[in-house]
Amino acid sequence: MVDAALEAPALGGGTRRRSALRKAMQRKSTIAFLMTLPLLLLVVLLVLYPALYSVHLATLNKSMERFVGFGNFLFLFKRETFWMVVQQSCIFAITAVIFKALIGFIVAHFVHNIPSRGQRKWRGMLLVPWVIPPAMSCLAWLWLFDPSYSALNWLLALFDVGPIPWTGEAYWARFSVILVNVWIGAPFFMIMYLAALKSVPEQLYEAAAIDGANWWQRMWYVTLPMMRNIMAITALFSLIVTFANFDIVRILTAGGPIDRTHVFATWAFWIGIQGNDIPLGASVSLFMVPILTVAAVFILRDINRRAGEMS
């Protein structure tokens, strides 16, 4: 379009015009290529290359001198801790995402319910956990969970409950780690769902109300179908981030007690960096790839479909 408009006034000879056009095209694509070059270099050198390199690393022995093929993976399969980490990672990610989505959905509805001039204030307050760097808020939670001075246990003691060993006992430690993750992530869901709720045209609700639909029917037949897309993509995004999470477990429990809260990322760090067995650590982190790929494929499909709808 732009080139056509540019070339229109030039009424020179046919061949000269064509070569000028081609030159412009060439120049344009050269410029465009140069503009994307830094991005390409960054992605290739610091994302794609290391990703492939970790596959190579995973096939070496501990001193990285000998090729062992699938040796590292077979070694992991035989270790009980590995299967525990697989299980814990899945429980951690799935439970956390479900509760984040649920709380986000409920809170978004409450915010949507109140008069619009108050909404800004509430939304601003409720997003604070997402804004604080996770490492900092995890420290606050660690202090709230402190074995001897826990302020949460102090509150629970008022109701004659507790004291709860928040990070001391396997099941409570898993609960605490998920709780903190939900606390950090639910506000993000709330914001996304609120944006989705606002995009539902008011006429649909009016039409449904005229047809005599009750609250549940309006929710089931109007709100949910209209929000389905954003709900799905938010959950998939969050699944990726939660599954690959490192900060929370690392700071709250460092994988303890006795490896009962390790997830892939923290266990890979423990083995690869602290245990100095880089190939085995790389093998551990590679086990995140299958789930990440599935989520990424679904996200991509959704984005391509929407791009198709737009054009």
Binding site: S29, L39, V107, N113, W130, P133, A135, L139, I230, T234
Partner: protein, 304 residues
């Protein structure tokens, strides 16, 4: 309003129905506020508790009093940290890294987004999707191979990359650039084509079109991307934990965790003060630019 005025003189059955609806509405509103308050308490409890603890002395923290109340508020924790050489180094490192990373990110992603959204060339659509996919690759998958790569660079080229704060300038853009490029593509794509056509006809070069038309028009998107890049680089924890170790090279999140927690002795007053001050820059930006912050947050999934 009308419903309320009708209820006051409700006589006929039909009108009474309106009245009950408005009563339902009022109750729904009350319940909404009630639950919102509960959720707000849950969401704000840790930062508030950080503030409470940061105002206490160590003696008061270890005394068995009500942990949610400060008996003798003191600013000594703040005074100690803000005069501590080590903490100021962490803060300075963090600020330096974040500001430089934001600059690098913008310099890479804005031209790339412009080229990918406006100057169609061979493979540009695939590349745009590829950029989005790299955003989905988490840093927890890359830190081990990167660590080994940088160790090899040191071995073969003699460039010491590990345990230098500026190595983070190489690493953080891998987290910020893909997402910023992606949302800038979205913002640039929403600018009408007539605008840049007019500029080109008037003799503007591609570079001028970018700086005179696209950047001013897409300024809200640019601000949102900048905020995103800043908050991500300020909050990043894994890379500095892996790649930097000596105290003069650490950034804030890792610095607080590795130096203020000494063995089993937890000086919680100082830890909470340090964490609160560390959380302050993103919170301040959020407080002043909330709309841009939220726009950036929702743009990732709703645009494109």
């Amino acid at each position: 309003m009308t419903a309320a005025s009708i209820t006051t003189r409700a006589t006929s059955p039909g009108v009474r129905k309106y009245g009950s609806m408005s009563r339902d509405r009022r109750w729904a509103l009350r319940w909404s506020y009630f639950f919102l308050t509960l959720f707000a308490i849950f969401f704000l409890m840790p930062p508030v508790y950080m503030l409470i603890t940061s105002l206490k002395t160590s003696a008061e923290i270890s005394a068995a009093t009500n942990p949610w109340w400060v008996q003798n508020p003191t600013l000594s924790n703040y005074a100690e940290l803000l005069t501590s050489r080590m903490y100021l180094t962490f803060f300075l490192n963090s600020a330096l890294v974040s500001v430089i990373v934001v600059t690098i990110t913008m310099l890479i992603s804005v031209p790339a987004a412009f080229a990918l959204s406006r100057m169609r060339f061979w493979g540009s659509a695939t590349l745009a999707t590829g950029v989005f996919l790299t955003y989905l690759i988490p840093e927890t998958l890359l830190f081990i191979p990167l660590f080994k790569m940088f160790a090899l660079v040191n071995e073969h080229l003699g460039i010491q990359l590990i345990n230098r704060w500026w190595v983070l300038l190489l690493l953080y853009p891998t987290l910020t650039v893909p997402f910023c490029t992606w949302i800038m593509i979205g913002y640039f794509a929403s600018i009408p084509k007539e605008l840049d056509e007019a500029a080109i006809i008037d003799g503007a070069s591609w570079f001028q079109t970018l700086t005179r038309i696209f950047i001013p028009v897409a300024l809200p998107g640019l601000i949102a991307a900048t905020i995103f890049a800043f908050t991500v680089s300020w909050a990043q924890f894994l890379y500095p934990l892996v790649f930097t170790t000596s105290t003069d090279q650490l950034v804030l999140p890792v610095g607080i965790i590795t130096t203020l927690i000494k063995g089993d002795v937890f000086n919680w007053g100082q830890i909470m003060t340090g964490a609160l001050l560390g959380a302050a820059p993103p919170l301040i930006i959020y407080a002043f630019l909330m709309d841009y912050y939220i726009a950036g947050l929702t743009a990732g999934a709703t645009k494109g």
